[in-house]
Each structure stands twice: as structure tokens, then as C-alpha cells.
């Protein structure tokens, strides 16, 4: 896994010190703990996670192809990649693509089910970190009624 300044700082708790010293803003420190949640495009979100994932057919996105209600789209993501440690869910065409990230401790199955908001028909992207590397799978979901309530 790529070790970068941000990861090292976070691990050492130095981020809080940097905020106190005014070197890093509180917003930047917050963003470091929530990788990808500031990104407004899918490529930026992937960059925040650590780079371009390799496509994998060992990741399944289970959902209806058409969602009646974009405000609550049920999605299950399953990873059959050994040593899966994290799973991320993104909606490519949402204003902020990153929806949720999960840490999967040892003993927990790499299978998560939740409901997402989709603003419009879009690709759902599942990113898995396994053995320190990133993998992805994509599934398109069409939405008949967008879910941002605007």
C-alpha cells in the first residue's frame, strides 16, 4: 500500500498538532480521515483512495437494474478477493461520488448491504482493497425518480 505523508501523519496523530499550529486546516484534517468524500468526480475519488484500481470479476454488485426510487436504492456488494480489508461504494454521477467506506476486520465477511441515494441513472462502482491493492467492479443502475430531492 502506498505510504504517503497523509497516512503517516494520520497514524502518528500529528494531524491534530498540525491543525493547532495552523499548518493544516481543520477541514484538511477532517478530509484525511474521510478519503474521497471531498471528491466531485470519480477519478478524484479513486486518486484519494490511492490510485487506479484493477477491474476484478471477484467483486459482485447485487441490485435491481432499475430503481423505482433513487432516494433508496438497495445494493449489496460482495468481494471474493482474499484478505479484503476495505470496501467502498460510489455512485459515479452523484455530486459527490463517494457514498460509504467499510473496514472489514478479520472474521467479518466481505459482504455489505445498504441503501443508497442516486441523483440520476449512473454506474455504481465498488472498490475493494485486498492485500493492500485496489480492485473495482461496476454496475449500471437506471433510476426512474432521482434521489436528491431537489
Amino acid at each position: 500500500m502506498k505510504t504517503n505523508r497523509r497516512t503517516v501523519l494520520q497514524a502518528s496523530g500529528a494531524m491534530a498538532t498540525l491543525v493547532a499550529l495552523g499548518i493544516v486546516t481543520a477541514q484538511q484534517a477532517h478530509a484525511a480521515a474521510r478519503p474521497g468524500f471531498d471528491a466531485r468526480t470519480l477519478p478524484d475519488a479513486l486518486r484519494a483512495l490511492g490510485g487506479a484500481p484493477a477491474t476484478s470479476n471477484q467483486i459482485s454488485i447485487v441490485s435491481d437494474a432499475i430503481a423505482e426510487n433513487g432516494a433508496a436504492v438497495p445494493v449489496t456488494v460482495i468481494s471474493r478477493l482474499p484478505r479484503t480489508t476495505q470496501m467502498f461504494l460510489l455512485v459515479e454521477r452523484n455530486p459527490i461520488p463517494m457514498v460509504a467506506g467499510f473496514t472489514i476486520p478479520e472474521g467479518t465477511e466481505a459482504e455489505i448491504q445498504t441503501r443508497l441515494r442516486m441523483g440520476e441513472s449512473s454506474n455504481i462502482v465498488a472498490i475493494v482493497r485486498a492485500d493492500g491493492r485496489l480492485f473495482s467492479a461496476v454496475k449500471e443502475i437506471r433510476v426512474t425518480l432521482g434521489g436528491c430531492g431537489g
Binding site: 433508496a72 460509504a100 467479518t108 459482504e111 455489505i112 443508497l116
Partner: protein
Amino acid sequence: MAGPMRIRATEEGGVTTVRVLMAHPMETGMRRGPDGSPIPAHYITNVEATHNGRTVLAGVWGPAVSQNPFLAFKFRGATKGQRVAVRWTDNRGATRSDEAVIA
């Protein structure tokens, strides 16, 4: 708003399946009220499930998780009669924890 979570946990063949329904508006911050002024973002940012004090799932969320979030996951190492606890924290710093007995 900070209503109780409904948690159901069942164990079969060594695998405990946990289903949680949380009560939270999950306001995205992108909507406007009837008078046109923006409704501020109000959503769960972190979720953690524990069993015997050990984290079995941790989640970092944005506002695109649906209102009244549903979450299901599975883990090994628990037996019937033991408990699973789920805690959420939102962007206002509010937090809620509930637990269920594994059936």
C-alpha cells in the same frame, strides 16, 4: 430523530448475520426548504459494530446513504445469546448506540 435502532442478529453455521435499521434524516445539505433557504446537511458520518468489545465492522459514510439507513453484514466468532452493539455518530457530533442479542 435520534430514535432507537432496530437490530436483528441471527447465527447459523457459525456466521452471525446482523441487520440494522437506523433512524436518521440523512439530510444531504443540497435540498431547499419551502421558503427557499438551504436545509443544512445532517447525516451519519461513522458507524461501528462491536461484539465482545471487538470491532466487527466500521463504516465511514457520506450523505448519499439513504434516510433511515439500512445496513446488513455478517461475521464469524459469535454464538447465540451473545450481543452485538452498533453505534453511529453524525456530523453534528450526536451519537447513538443500541445492541441486540444474537438469536
